[in-house]
């Protein structure tokens, strides 16, 4: 029986790692909702949530419990199976992306080298693209199965937005990959640690394009057209209630956390702490420093995401499409050609 000839220690190690990463993503996403409301309060000169616990720190728990206890409504003309599949897909794809992010270097634990990355596959970043491109289905299936014209319009809008911005994102990424010569996120991070310069120095335009496209992919304001209340009531999750609605909203926050981590890994040096030589530190210190660096960068990016949301008004649909197709894609193409030419010139 080849099925039982697994390396069981390896399997258990990865299972524990996956469990830890998923719980961290959930907790971060939970507190991202709290942070968002606090930051919104700060920007709009309000207090923000302050009732549940000290400084309102228990607010996300209260919200979660409220969502669980709400009545679950399934509209009669909806497609029952697909109606449930929609939020499940949204949540599943949000969770799957975290699998290939390197959270830190290798450490030795009980005689085993433990790799703080679930899978170092050689297609690396393409895997993230694959999963992100599937994330659209959660929205589309959910919006269609609701059997509501507003939901359907919002789902179609969301999907066309995601497809348009995926193109510019991919082109920005190609320029980066020309420099690194590798698709593996682990290799990309290691290169940035050894070169002393982060990729943002070589690819400032690419970083900007990638960042804008991430905003659009996460459906964050100013790109939150699928949820434009004033035009579409509430967007693709209008018919959803209780925890199914919670899944859609929650998946969005997980996506934001993961895409910030991906940006930090690709352009901002991943778990590289600036001005610190990691090779001088002992194993466990290096790990803690690395985790602090990665999470610090990620939280900073999440803050910028929220800052943008509470500062800029929403785009109109034609403005969104013009920016994507006539602004970002040509820019990304120029960036790609220039990078290619410079790489070729430097190699000679």
């Amino acid at each position: 029986m080849t099925l039982l000839a697994f390396d069981w220690a390896f399997t258990i190690e990865k299972a524990i790692l996956i469990a830890i990463i998923i719980s961290i993503s959930l907790v971060v996403a939970m507190y991202a909702t709290y942070a968002e409301r606090k930051i919104a309060g700060f920007i709009q000169d309000r207090v923000g949530p302050n009732r549940a616990g000290p400084f309102g720190i228990l607010q996300p728990l209260a919200d979660g419990i409220k969502l669980f206890f709400k009545e679950e409504v399934t509209p009669n003309p909806s497609n029952k199976f697909l109606f449930i599949l929609g939020p499940s897909l949204a949540m599943l794809t949000a969770m799957m992306t975290s699998a290939i992010i390197p959270w830190g270097g290798k450490i030795e634990l009980g005689g085993r080298m433990v790799d703080l990355q679930v899978a170092d596959i050689n297609i690396g970043i393409l895997y993230i693209f694959g999963v992100v491109s599937l994330g659209v289905y959660g929205m589309m299936v959910g919006g269609w199965a609701s059997n509501n014209k507003y939901s359907l319009m919002a789902a179609l809008r969301g999907a066309s937005q995601a497809i348009s911005y995926e193109l510019a994102m991919g082109l920005a990424l190609i320029a980066l990959l020309m420099l690194t010569g590798s698709l593996s996120l682990r290799t990309i991070t290691d290169q940035q640690i050894h070169n002393n310069w982060w990729n943002i120095v070589y690819q400032p335009l690419g970083f900007l394009i990638f960042f804008i496209c991430s905003l659009a992919e996460c459906n964050r304001a100013p790109f939150d057209l699928p949820e434009a209340e004033s035009e579409l009531n509430m967007g693709y999750h209008q018919e959803y209630s209780s925890m199914k609605l919670g899944f859609f909203l929650f998946a969005e926050y997980i996506n934001m956390f993961i895409s910030c981590t991906v940006i930090a890994t690709l352009y901002l040096g991943g778990y590289d702490m600036p001005f610190v030589d990691e090779s001088q530190l002992s194993g466990i210190t290096a790990l803690i420093v690395g985790l602090l660096a990665l999470f610090g960068k990620t939280f900073l990016l999440i803050f910028v995401f929220m800052w943008i949301r509470w500062t800029l008004p929403r785009f109109r649909y034609d403005q969104l499409m013009n920016l994507g197709w006539k602004g970002l894609i040509p820019l990304a193409l120029i960036n790609m050609v220039l990078t290619g030419a410079i790489v070729l010139f430097m190699m000679k």
């Binding site: 080849t2 099925l3 697909l82 596959i121 050689n122 297609i123 393409l126 895997y127 693209f129 694959g130 491109s133 599937l134 659209v136 289905y137 589309m140 299936v141 269609w144 359907l152 789902a155 179609l156 999907a159 066309s160 497809i163 995926e166 698709l183």
Partner: protein
């Protein structure tokens, strides 16, 4: 490995049959996505991760979304797809049958091919090797096919573009 292969085959073929037998076009498309996942699984078993992920990005992630778009916007449902044209069925059978004939003819020597693949240690599907083959040995066919794609795109834009008169009238 053997078990995985059979499971994937069952999934792929089962969902492919469901594509044909689903009454609702949206369900057909969703089953087709499952089929693409099965095919990607087979690519991974062949150690061709790049092909697997590109298959998912391009087909499941982009083309199927456009299919869903069209079907959802045209609001096709069970009642409106009742049109059965005898000649259409006939043409479908003939074209499908000839495709199968070609596939069988091409795969007739598959056992010889498999021994060749094994000698190359099975990493032809990895991105480095694939890039080398594509941009060195097959660069001309590759470029020609990309021009073909471009011409299709230009054609689509041309058909979709409004004529000068229509623009003036608006």
């Amino acid at each position: 490995m053997q078990l995985l292969f059979w499971l994937l085959t069952l999934l792929t073929l089962g969902s492919a049959v469901m594509v044909v037998y689903s009454k609702n076009p949206v369900h057909s498309i969703l089953w087709l996505i499952v089929t693409f996942f099965g095919i990607s699984g087979h690519y991974v078993l062949l150690n061709a991760q790049f092909l697997a992920i590109v298959n998912i990005i391009v087909y499941a992630g982009a083309i199927m979304v456009l299919f869903l778009f069209v079907v959802m916007l045209m609001n096709l449902n069970m009642t409106s797809v009742g049109i059965k044209n005898k000649w259409l069925t006939f043409a479908g059978v003939i074209s499908g049958g000839s495709l199968m004939l070609i596939l069988v003819a091409a795969l007739k020597d598959a056992s010889e091919m498999r021994s060749q693949l094994a000698m190359h240690t099975g990493d032809i599907g990895l991105i480095n090797n694939l890039g080398m083959v594509l941009f060195k040995d097959y660069v001309l066919p590759f470029e020609i096919s990309s021009v073909l794609f471009l011409s299709a795109m230009v054609g689509a834009v041309l058909i979709g573009k409004k004529s000068e008169n229509e623009l003036v009238n608006q």
